[in-house]
Amino acid sequence: MSKLKTILAATIAAAGLITFSSSIYTIDETEQAVVTQMGKAKKIVVGSQTPGQPNDSLAYLLDSVYAARGFDVDVVSRTGIHFKTPFVQSVQKFEDRIMEYDSKPSTVITKDKKSLVIDNYARWIIEDPLKFMNTVRSERGAQSQLDDIIYAAVKQYAGKNNLIELVRSTNNMLDEVPDSTSTEVYDKISVGRQIIMGEITDLCNDLTREKYGIRILDVQIKRAEYLPENKEAVYKDMIQERKRIAQQYESEGEEIKRVMNAQTDREVETITSEGYATAEQINGQGDREATRIYAKAYNVDPKFYSFWRSLEAYKTAYSSGTKMFMTTDSKFNRYLKDAK
């Protein structure tokens, strides 16, 4: 008899345990949940961005939204242990964390007919778990919907803008020309990457909130590249530009050398000719002074000078071997004839 009692007690205990475990569930900081009964939502547990702080404002908002639509749904925001009707109600949990969407790189055509291979990412979060559940059903399901929406938006904005608008965000670069040899004229952007991505984010966010209860935090260009064949052309351009700059430096060097050397040669010319001139001047001074000295001395008695000078000349003017015919009439020889 007691054995039966034991079995009965055990069975009741087991049943109670099962029932109990079916009536509680926990929600941790990374989770949200929807409690359903016969396919109808009964309760939503929304997550909060700040762990430990319930998101009462969102809960209140959703509550009023659903109430207005005539849904009989209880919206709370609280982590920890929750209770539900066992067996009849079931819980479906969803992520409360910021999720990642990463597209495969896809090609877009810009307004100026350039191709760009763009790799986007987006960060999103489930804002309304019920709507999310009713539409995309799960995080996995969300990916393909996000794919379509985001790609469509990126393609649309790319087509409306020139390539440069997707590359640059500001015109700051235009004020900084790298070197004076650059012949490039840089395009001015009117919108820019940052603004475009902001607009894409807003556009997508409005759509996903409306349709899927997903809030998109941002859409960013992770990578943007040229098509392989375009890359080659770009590399060629870069090489050409570098070669041009190198050539410029070479000719500048040659020019500098030419100009400086010419200047040096001119200076050498000047120095040398001035040297000659000064030397000539000094020579002239010497000659003049000597002449002055001679003149001053000889002018004291020009006749005597003439006499003396001639005698000096006779001493040296005629070399040996010169033949001279003289008569006895000459002054020198007069005594040869007679001693008068």
Partner: protein, 243 residues
Amino acid sequence: MRRFEVGFRTNDAEESDYEEVEVEALMLTGDKNMLKSHFSVQYQVSDPAKFLFNVYDVKATLFDAAEAAHRQIVGDNHTDKTMTYGRAEIEQQTKDLMENIIAKYDMGIDILAIRIQDVDPPTPEVESAFAGVETALKNKDRAYDQARTYANEQIPAARAKAGELINQAEGYKAKVINQAKGDVARFEEIYAEYKRAPAITMERMYIEAMEDFMKRVDKVIIDEDASTFNMLDISKSYKGGGN
């Protein structure tokens, strides 16, 4: 403090040895060129709860944000600046933008620093073109140095030569003046002597000069009364040489 790398991975063995991840490194520049940038991100957890509970894949989120931020900044500058003088500025701007991006995610993470390891041209061919510019710049400097050397050789040499010419002239001037002074002094001595006894001195001078003169020349003395015949004879003997 935690760290991750974008565009490259350091080989465990040595810090200086790393492998490139081209897909992460290749990016567009503001002047529509391409380059390869390799950088690392240092961060720390400032709020453990947020760090654990707010984001589904923290690593991927940080990585994506880093790439997006850096590429946006590089896409806003020209090639030269990113490759050379602009690195510090680009590191700072990348850090600021990345912080801006992850602020929305409330990750409980502080970005400490962005450090650019290397910025390279996109292909080896482009790289050698860049190297060519370096060489050309060096050549330009060298041309300048050569011109300066030429000047430093030529001008002092010219000055030296000019100085030499002037010295020679000075020498000539001195010589000529001294010569004059000497000659004049000699003359004045003789003149003084002459002044003391003019007629006699003149006579004596004349005779001395003639004496000297006669010593040197070949003389034929002809009596002025000599006949023509004698002269003819004399001229014959003259032809044979004589004294």
